[in-house]
């Protein structure tokens, strides 16, 4: 079994961290994982993105030409990755920031106002966790408990105080897709 996803947005939106968290949680479950960032000039000015693969078997290709899913944070990323998600795949997008609907009928598209939900929780910086929650509510490459465990690894020292609100943001994402 293999789950793969592209995560894309502006630098600073927590795109890479979302991917790392997913990969780390997968590793903690004993799964094979890869995390591949876009790097160098590609990263400057435009969108930042990373590809994460979580699998039971050794992962051959960390490059995703037609990912099973995409989590997109902004319009540019939406335009870039909407066409490449595989048929029947999943697209999770932040409808607070993306004003366009998907033109593909063959995708499961989650329009979640992730930034609005994050603001209600106190800070737009939790947007990435809301989107991750929505993704995990749809497909389950790893358990929520593992993500919680990884949060504690990433958020240490002063940031440890943010673990609970990040968990809430994750749950808000899960609840949003479960309500639908």
């Amino acid at each position: 079994m293999e789950h793969n996803v592209v995560i894309a947005g502006f630098g600073g939106q927590g795109v890479m961290l979302l991917g790392e968290l997913l990969a780390h949680a997968g590793m903690d479950e004993g799964k094979e994982v890869t995390w591949l960032p876009s790097y160098g000039p590609e990263q400057r000015g435009g969108t930042a993105n990373c590809a994460v693969v979580v699998a039971d078997e050794p992962i051959a290709s960390p490059i995703l030409t037609d990912p099973q899913a995409a989590i997109v944070f902004n319009r540019q990323s939406f335009d870039k990755f909407e066409p490449v998600v595989e048929k029947g795949g999943l697209l999770v997008l932040d409808s607070t920031l993306i004003d366009r609907k998907s033109s593909r009928a063959d995708l499961d598209v989650v329009y979640i106002p992730a930034t609005d939900i994050a603001m209600e929780l106190g800070n737009s910086k939790f947007t990435n966790m809301v989107l991750l929650g929505a993704y995990l509510g749809k497909v389950k490459p790893i358990s929520m408990a593992s993500v919680h465990g990884s949060l504690a690894v990433f958020l240490t020292g002063k940031k440890a105080a943010l673990i609970e609100v990040n968990k809430k943001a994750l749950q808000a994402g899960v609840d949003f897709v479960n309500k639908k």
């Binding site: 790392e20 990969a23 780390h24 590793m27 903690d28 004993g30 094979e32 994982v33 890869t34 995390w35 591949l36 960032p37 790097y39 160098g40 000039p41 050794p58 051959a60 290709s61 960390p62 490059i63 030409t65």
Partner: protein, 355 residues
Amino acid sequence: MSNKVLMKGAEALAEGAIQAGCRYYFGYPITPQNETPEYMSRRLPEVGGRFVQAESEVASINMVYGAACAGVRVMTSSSSPGISLMQEGISYISGSDVPCVIMNAMRGGPGLGNIAPAQADYFQAVKGGGNGDYKRIVLAPSSIQEGVDLFIDAFELADKYRMVVMVIVDGLIGQMMEPVEFKTRVDVSTLKTPEWATVGRHGRDHANIITSLTLDAPGLEQWNLKLQAKYAQVELAESRIEEYQMDDADYAIIAYGTMARIAKTTVRIARAQGIKLGLLRPITVWPFPAKQIQAYIGKLKGTLTVELAYRQLFEDVQLTLCDKMPLGWYGRGGGIVPGPQEILTAFEEQFGKGR
């Protein structure tokens, strides 16, 4: 719970070097391997080592040369154009019979090219690059864990044969994160300064002299013969290959590094379609695992060499298999990495449906 950590390749390989006892790093920055010197600059002082950012690649490799003469475990790393600048030094180090490890995170070329994954430095790494008849051991990992393990082997091999060992990767392995486990295999405290090191006489009756200069021709020929004998020994003892799904294979893809990793998926897709495809993955590209590949003569109906370059690895496959079976080739350049399906399409174009 395992002892695995999630690490970027360029950092994990650097830690592998430290675990192998490397205490000296000299280098000059270039993408896509800057995390390696960055990591070294942080870690080496913690373990009593030294990190120097040199003023150029030429300076870096000559600092490596100097440290190697002192008999310590030393390395540098760079990417394609930077490695080109080091070729003179590599030849001198090889001609002087001293050990060191060099990592090349290969990028698209020629020239300044770009920073995307490529394998177009194969000839430079495997066939030469610098002047004179020298060889270096070239290791080509295809995962971060393998890279870490091979980095430890690299230092052991360098010392064992007093040779340059090059580890060739690319930006994909350098930038990717994968779980990695460090298995301590080298007891650094047991590493001793070799007898030949130029670290002072210390009561010896002679001074050690290390040079690649031998003006008299018969003397230099003898020196060359000694080097050649060593290379022959390495060829016999150190070639390595991974044979994947080869037991009943009718065809094989031959690929190394990143390309081999992706070709593994091609093998899986082909198998699901009833094509008996396997993968032969050289782990050492010098010495080339010719014997292991030749063992499939008479068993295979053909091979497809796949590389991120234009017929470089393919030349070694041709030398290995000659006309013993149909030899197909597929490659992309300039930093383009073909996906598994693209490779399968290339296979089918050259070998039909593989039946």
